[in-house]
């Protein structure tokens, strides 16, 4: 992964000093709460329900073993022994003390990490495919481009006080795993007819209160111009985005109100005089960044190595895990392993201090010291030799990280919800736990097959509920926590927003409601048809009718008792 040079290190070190000074001035009363808020937010620090929450940037999900060990150390020393991977590949500490945060940032800087722009109304941490550089279906490695975007957006002076937060994602594979359509700017690496690299640019996607999928504003921006083009988009937004209403301030609202054609015209008009401007990229610059990704050399190895095949044939649990949690690698003889952070009884995305250390050891031993975080809140060991898969499985299993459920019902995306987050209307983790407990039979889960269940505790949609095949949204009704259910959402190339099936449910009802949805799917599915495909074929209405009919039966049965 990318290794800092001396300038990267200096910038991060200086930021630590600057933030320590800002925090000291706040604690001394020189800065008001209102004045300090954007400063701390632009350094990833929220004031939450119980304590501050510090969101550490994991640029495009890339992590090294020394960074994981530092997470472990911080979790143990300054937090309650764990950290939480967010749905934008970042890592959150839920319990640090405000006055310790500068010290924590100082420690992070020693391992080339920071919390810069992980919150606030600025350009946020760029996200990407967790299998970038190793995916079998990749046509262009997005990581150098992500790093270029990271550097360009870091302390960009013109765009530090945008109307609202601004998220960028980059994809370079046939299958989009970065949900680029749900980002303010989605960059899709493409080649033109002559084989030149460029970007298809989507703008105006976002979930939250008003979910909208991004639309194409340019089918091809040459790579040399991509930062100029992004600056043109951001300038139009910075000057014309709404600032009078926080709920209408995202770029998606501006794009909708202008219409994508008019928005694209304004961007083109802004871009034309900026073309070849100061942010123009050159081959030398790209190569300089790319050369700092010290990727391991992977000599091709035999596929279907004998020992591996023997384990697959002789061990059903291992075979299950390989089927669910192992993904194809671009080099023969290697595989990408997903470590599941979705064990029953554990809050999705949580990792303990001891697990951080153990995962770092696994990465060092089997994956060239690298780990990636996914927006589904799991971790990836990239470039594991096929012959090592059995050993990795055994160790991961001992660590509680080998639940063979990737892509299955219990591999839920879940925001921290009302247990931690000050924005939440309802809890989300207890709902996830109740569903995990109800559906923990692996044979049943495998029978249901691929399904995405996403849970958000409020309409800010950190749990990406709109793009879940089943989405659950916590809502507040007269001070009580209720849950609204959507179906038919999807991420990736077929990205779609789910439709609400009807009136909301209580927390206690949720496992039954999920059971009704799954039951109806099992009754109506065709052979080898995924849940989402059945929903698309027979429609939302059919599921709705079934879910509310079964609900009525349950309520009547309760009254009889």
């Amino acid at each position: 992964m990318y290794q800092y040079d001396e300038y990267d290190q200096r910038i991060v070190d200086e930021r630590v000093v600057q933030f320590a000074d800002q925090t000291a001035r706040f604690l001394a009363g020189e800065l008001s709460e209102d004045e300090y808020r954007p400063l701390r937010l632009q350094n990833g620090l929220y004031i939450q329900r119980h304590a501050p929450m510090l969101r550490v940037a994991v640029p495009y999900g890339n992590l090294r073993s020394d960074q994981l060990r530092m997470f472990g150390h911080i979790a143990r020393t300054y937090d309650r022994g764990y950290g939480h991977f967010s749905t934008r590949q970042n890592l959150q500490f839920n319990w640090p003390r405000l006055e310790c945060v500068p010290e924590i940032l100082g420690l992070l800087a020693t391992v080339q990490m920071h919390a810069i722009q992980t919150s606030g109304n600025c350009i946020r941490n760029v996200t990407s495919d967790p299998f970038a550089g190793v995916a079998a279906d990749e046509h262009i490695d997005p990581r150098p481009w992500c790093e270029i975007v990271r550097q360009w957006s870091t302390f960009h002076p013109e765009f530090a006080f945008l109307p609202r937060k601004f998220k960028l994602a980059v994809n370079g594979a046939a299958q989009d795993r970065a949900i680029i359509q749900a980002h303010d700017i989605g960059l899709d690496l493409v080649r033109d007819a002559d084989g030149n690299t460029g970007f298809r640019v989507l703008v105006g996607g976002g979930l939250g209160r008003t979910p909208i999928l991004g639309e194409e504003v340019s089918s091809f921006v040459p790579w040399q111009q991509i930062l100029n083009y992004c600056e043109a988009i951001l300038r139009v937004y910075n000057l014309h985005g709404r600032r009078d209403n926080i709920y209408k301030a995202r770029i998606k609202i501006l794009v909708k109100s202008l219409g994508v054609a008019e928005f694209a015209r304004q961007v083109e008009a802004e871009f034309a005089p900026m073309k070849d401007g100061p942010s123009t990229l050159t081959q030398a610059k790209i190569e300089r960044v790319a050369s700092r990704f010290s990727d391991p050399l992977l000599p091709e190895l035999p596929v279907n190595e004998a020992g591996h095949m023997t384990h697959l044939a002789g061990n059903k649990a291992f075979a299950n895990w390989v089927k669910r949690n192992v993904r194809a690698h671009k080099v023969q003889g290697y595989a990408n392993v997903v470590l599941s952070l979705k064990k029953s009884g554990v809050a999705p995305g949580d990792v303990t201090a001891d697990q951080f250390d153990a995962i770092a050891d696994l990465a060092d031993q089997y994956a060239f010291g690298e780990v990636r975080s996914t927006h589904e809140q799991n971790l990836v060991l990239a470039s594991v030799r096929q012959a090592d898969l059995f050993a990795v499985w055994q160790k991961a299993r001992d660590l509680g990280l080998a639940t063979p459920n990737i892509g299955l019902l219990t591999d839920m995306i879940v925001c921290p919800g009302g247990d931690f987050c000050v924005l939440a209307n309802a809890k989300s983790i207890p709902i996830a736990k109740a569903i995990q407990q109800r559906f923990d039979d692996l044979d049943y889960l495998h029978d249901i097959g691929e399904i995405e269940l996403n849970i958000s505790g409020c309409m800010n949609a950190c749990g990406h509920h709109h793009v879940g095949h089943i989405g659950v949204l916590g809502v507040d009704k007269h001070g009580e926590e209720w849950y609204q259910v959507t179906i038919g959402g999807d991420q990736g190339n077929e990205a779609a927003l789910g439709k609400v099936i009807g009136p909301s449910f209580t927390a206690a009802e949720m496992p039954d409601v999920i059971g009704s949805l799954l039951g109806h799917y099992i009754d109506r599915r065709h052979a080898d048809e995924r849940f989402i495909d059945t929903v698309r074929r027979i429609g939302t209405e059919s599921f709705k009718t079934h879910v509310y009919a079964e609900r009525l039966e349950r309520l009547e049965a309760m009254e009889v008792c």
Binding site: Y7, D8, R10, I11, E14, R15, V17, Q18, D21, Q22, E30, L31, E35, P38, L39, N121, I148, Q151, W152, T154, F155, H156, P157, E158, F159, A160, F161, L162, P163, L227, R235, N238, L239, R243, P273, G277, P278, S279, L281, K285, R288, V289
Partner: protein, 184 residues
């Protein structure tokens, strides 16, 4: 006399910012004598009368966040001082307006940030092309403003080129040349 940061130094400053009251009319409002920065509406309404003072360097114009720089560009050759108002420090439109005035419309005169201008934003402002920064009078003590000025050198390395880089002090420019914006 109030103090501002200008061209990398703390300086006494005699300019007054004229703001339109609720019942003021841009056409009839009498612009006081002395060094005055008038709202764009007043400039537009009274340009023939104010032009001489502007060219003599004793009258400037300030823009609000909704100003269209393209519509104002023709006036720039007449002016030696243009200010951009930040109604709230979280309102970042002024940064883009500054960049446009400097980089697209070639304005080389004094570009001053006024309004809710806070020290933790000074660095961004200077990088966007402001060479003068005027916080509300009394907002900062002498010690604080000196600390703020010193903090402008906090980041010796930068990732991106910016409109204001050429109006940096020589020292900064030398250091910035070694910095990352040369690489990216």
């Amino acid at each position: 006399m109030p103090q501002i940061i200008k061209d990398g130094r703390i300086q006494d400053d005699a300019w007054k910012v004229l703001r339109l009251g609720e019942n003021d009319d841009a056409v009839t409002l009498k612009v006081p004598a002395g060094r005055v920065i008038v709202p764009l509406a007043v400039w537009r309404a009274q340009r023939p009368y104010l032009k001489g003072r502007a060219e003599a360097g004793v009258l400037g114009v300030w823009l609000a966040g909704d100003a269209e720089p393209s519509e104002f560009a023709g006036d720039l050759p007449l002016l030696q001082l243009v200010a951009i108002d930040f109604p709230a420090f979280t309102d970042g439109r002024g940064y883009s307006i500054a960049v446009l005035l400097r980089s697209r419309y070639g304005y080389t005169g004094e570009l001053r940030a006024i309004g809710e201008v806070l020290r933790d934003q000074f660095f961004f402002m200077i990088r966007c092309g402001f060479n003068a920064i005027q916080p509300y009078e009394g907002r900062y003590s002498q010690t604080q403003i000196e600390a703020a000025l010193a903090s402008l050198s906090d980041f010796p390395a930068l990732y991106q080129g910016a409109a204001g880089d050429r109006v940096f002090t020589a020292k900064r420019r030398r250091e910035a040349t070694m910095g990352c914006h040369q690489r990216i």
